[in-house]
């Protein structure tokens, strides 16, 4: 993989300007078509959800159970990924529709939108893959980079990862509380408690909805409806976990040290976003189901551009990377997921020593030539 150290500072900034140009072009072209796209996805998601729940009322028929559960799972995935995640990024704020706006949206996830916007939009997207800054590296539970100090608790991390996948939404909610910042006083206990209450309130409503209200409405089909809802929630969690882990942790994704951040220019910021992200190849439907996080690179370069535009700019970003001799990591879902799991398994054990692709080299070298 060509390291970015071959670029001069001027070239890095030229790379940044080219990306800015792509961004400006997309922004200038936003209009009717884009608005129709997101409204269409939202309407489809809601109809799918209603159909799924109606089918589940007939779930004493096994095919109805299967179809209902599948429809509900698909709706929940769409709701979290292509709609919720992207609306909360402010990708659709330009429409000025208070019903589809980052400041008013709430999603079907244990983590309240406000809390998530802080930890995700700000902390993760600003400090992407910077060790000690980007808390998303391993979600505080996993050792995902060799630079993280090994500890015997990591021996069980394949198990943690499975649990995290199954209960991803709860994992994210607790993780977003940033409990580790309380002992040092960086975060007050009072604030954490208030946030915990908000999470508890949301979790309560969701549990009542999926595991009490809808099953009760189904009367004799109580149990199959409950199981269908549970299956849909678990499927959504595992899917979201898989896509998100494939975005930053497969082979090829780089991690950076904090010194990288000092006086970081716009060009260098773009570079870090590019090198810390990986794409997943797939069909149009797959991209939609992944919330277009399969275009993780484009998403990290332009987190607030509407997701339906990532596919169209991806070839341009790729060509730009080629021109500047930069790696553009993209592979199939199976390969990326395999690569993530290899990493999780390998790093459960101590070692290896610092990797040449990791934090040590590119970042520092970049600074050195600058």
């Amino acid at each position: 993989m060509p390291a970015p150290s071959h670029l001069t500072r001027a070239e890095v900034e030229e790379f940044g300007r080219e990306l800015d140009r792509i961004r400006d072009e997309v922004l200038a072209g936003l209009g009717e078509q884009d608005a129709r796209y997101i409204r269409g996805v939202i309407a489809t998601q809601r109809k799918l959800e209603m159909s799924g729940r109606v089918l589940l009322f007939a779930s004493w028929l096994p095919p109805a159970w299967a179809a209902g559960t599948a429809a509900l799972a698909t709706a929940k995935i769409l709701e979290n990924m292509e709609i919720g995640h992207n609306v909360l990024h402010g990708q659709w704020d330009w429409m000025r529709d208070p019903k589809i706006h980052s400041t008013t949206w709430e999603w079907d996830s244990a983590c309240p939108a406000d809390l998530w916007k802080h930890s995700h939009n700000f902390v993760h997207h600003t400090w992407t893959n910077v060790l000690g800054k980007d808390r998303d590296i391993g979600y505080s539970a996993l050792r995902i980079s060799p630079e993280q100090q090994w500890h015997p608790v990591y021996l069980a991390q394949p198990l943690y990862n499975i649990l995290l996948a199954l209960f991803f939404e709860y994992g994210i909610a607790i993780y977003d509380l940033e409990l580790e910042r309380i002992p040092s006083g960086q975060k007050s206990l009072k604030e954490a408690l208030a946030q915990l209450r908000a999470i508890a309130g949301k979790v309560q409503r969701q549990i009542v909805k999926d595991y009490v209200a809808f099953p009760l409405l189904a009367g004799p089909a109580f149990l199959p409806v409950l199981l269908g809802n549970l299956t849909a929630n678990l499927a959504r969690n595992v899917w979201a976990h898989t896509i998100i882990f494939c975005g930053h942790f497969p082979e090829g994704a780089e991690f950076f040290t904090e010194d990288r951040l000092q006086d970081e220019t716009r060009g260098e910021w773009y570079l870090r976003q590019l090198l810390g992200s990986c794409n997943i190849d797939g069909s149009r439907l797959f991209h939609i189901m992944s919330g277009n996080l399969s275009h993780q690179i484009e998403h990290h370069l332009f987190p607030d551009l509407p997701s339906n535009r990532y596919a169209e700019i991806a070839p341009r970003v790729r060509a730009l990377c080629e021109r500047f001799g930069l790696a553009y990591t993209s592979d199939s879902l199976a390969r990326q997921a395999g690569s993530v799991w290899k990493r999780v398994l390998r790093l459960a054990l101590p070692g290896p020593g610092p990797q040449p692709t990791a934090a040590t080299s590119p970042a520092r070298k970049l600074k050195a030539v600058a």
Partner: protein, 359 residues
């Protein structure tokens, strides 16, 4: 009952509202967001059209002369504008009308008057406004209008004049109304509601209509007005039209101030070439560079902030935001003012240097 049901249904729809699902069947079932469906568009003149709009649940009837705010999606973006209601309240079909004159380069007016198809959904807020006739109406009202300024007066007139009865009777001791309407437009064909007004004047002995066709006769001056309606200073006057006309009427008004009611369609803005600054919208976390003559409302909207707004001309206070730091320029007077904590009308204020506002 409905409220309780709705509340219970929220346990099934959380985190959304039941109406977010019901709205898929009929957008007008929404109660949280006031909406309207355009049922028909009727051309009035070459550049004006009347839109018949069916409001959703929760719409309250207006008083004649009031206006409504309309949110229209153009090229995917929502734009809010204000339009006077041109229909009398409580039409039998439950709809109301607005009448829009397409102004050259006007984004929303052109879209509404020329490119809006029946079935289009718009957002609504209101009705509001003080350009109304009190109850009981004064016996001798005078309406001074020009161009699209006729729209609120059309709604008022229908309520003032007795219906289509040929020989209306008046309660003993009560004077029949004596209504004068002086309306200006470039040519007879440009008179919005021209045919209806002429028909009304021909049938009703209580309405005197003076049309002024400015292309041939020139603009109406206050002196002309005294000729057309010698007792105009003794009447109660409602005036609506271009700023120049309204300013002139106000300058020549000799009657008591509370008998002259003026409706402006656009703010009287003082041109200002002064420096602006960086604006930070603290609640939404957005920032933008603002010119010294650009309303903060526009700056915020362009930056993707959900800016509340209303008349967009400094009268309704729907658009206020709390200033956290910096100072603003009042675009109507040019005066620079503001302290931390002040509520600022964003539609008529521009940044005078860097500011932070809680929106």
């Amino acid at each position: 009952m409905l409220g309780k049901l709705n509340h219970a249904a929220q346990w099934l729809s959380t985190p959304l509202l039941p109406e977010d699902y019901l709205g898929l069947l009929d957008p007008l079932w929404s109660a949280e967001e006031l909406r309207g469906r355009v049922e028909g568009v009727c051309p009035e003149t070459a550049d004006a059209a009347t839109l018949v709009i069916r409001p959703s649940r929760g719409w309250r009837a207006h008083r004649p002369g009031q206006w409504v705010r309309i949110g229209v999606d153009i090229q995917g973006r929502r734009h809010w504008r204000t339009y006077s209601l041109s229909s009398p309240p409580e039409r039998p079909d439950g709809c109301f009308t607005i009448t829009v004159k397409a102004i050259p380069d006007g984004l929303v007016s052109t879209h509404l008057a020329r490119r809006t198809a029946p079935g289009t959904i718009v957002r609504l807020a209101g009705p509001e406004g003080e350009f109304v006739v009190p109850e009981p109406p004064p016996p001798r009202p005078l309406f001074l209008t020009a161009g699209s300024g006729i729209t609120p007066v059309m709604a008022i007139l229908s309520g003032l004049l007795p219906g289509d009865t040929a020989h209306p009777t008046w309660p003993p001791g009560q004077e029949p109304p004596d209504v004068v309407l002086v309306h200006s437009a470039p040519t007879p064909q440009d008179v919005i509601f021209g045919a209806r007004l002429r028909h009304l004047a021909a049938r009703s002995p209580y309405l005197r209509l003076h049309e002024r066709h400015t292309r041939s006769a020139g603009r109406l001056s206050p002196a002309d007005l005294a000729g057309l309606c010698p007792d105009w200073a003794q009447r109660s006057v409602w005036a609506c039209g271009p700023a120049a006309m309204l300013d002139e009427v106000a300058a020549h008004w000799t009657g008591p101030a509370d008998r002259l009611c003026v409706e402006r369609f656009r703010p009287a803005v003082l041109a200002s070439g002064e420096a602006g600054g960086r604006v930070r919208f603290t609640r939404s976390g957005r920032e933008a560079d603002a010119g010294g003559a650009t309303p903060l409302l526009t700056v915020g909207e362009d930056a993707g902030v959900l800016m509340p707004s209303g008349c967009r001309m400094g009268i309704c206070h729907s658009c206020v935001g709390r200033l956290r730091s910096g100072r603003v320029r009042d675009l109507r007077t040019g005066q620079v003012h503001g302290e931390a904590g002040d509520l600022i009308q964003t539609c008529v204020s521009a940044a005078a240097g860097p500011i932070e506002i809680e929106l």
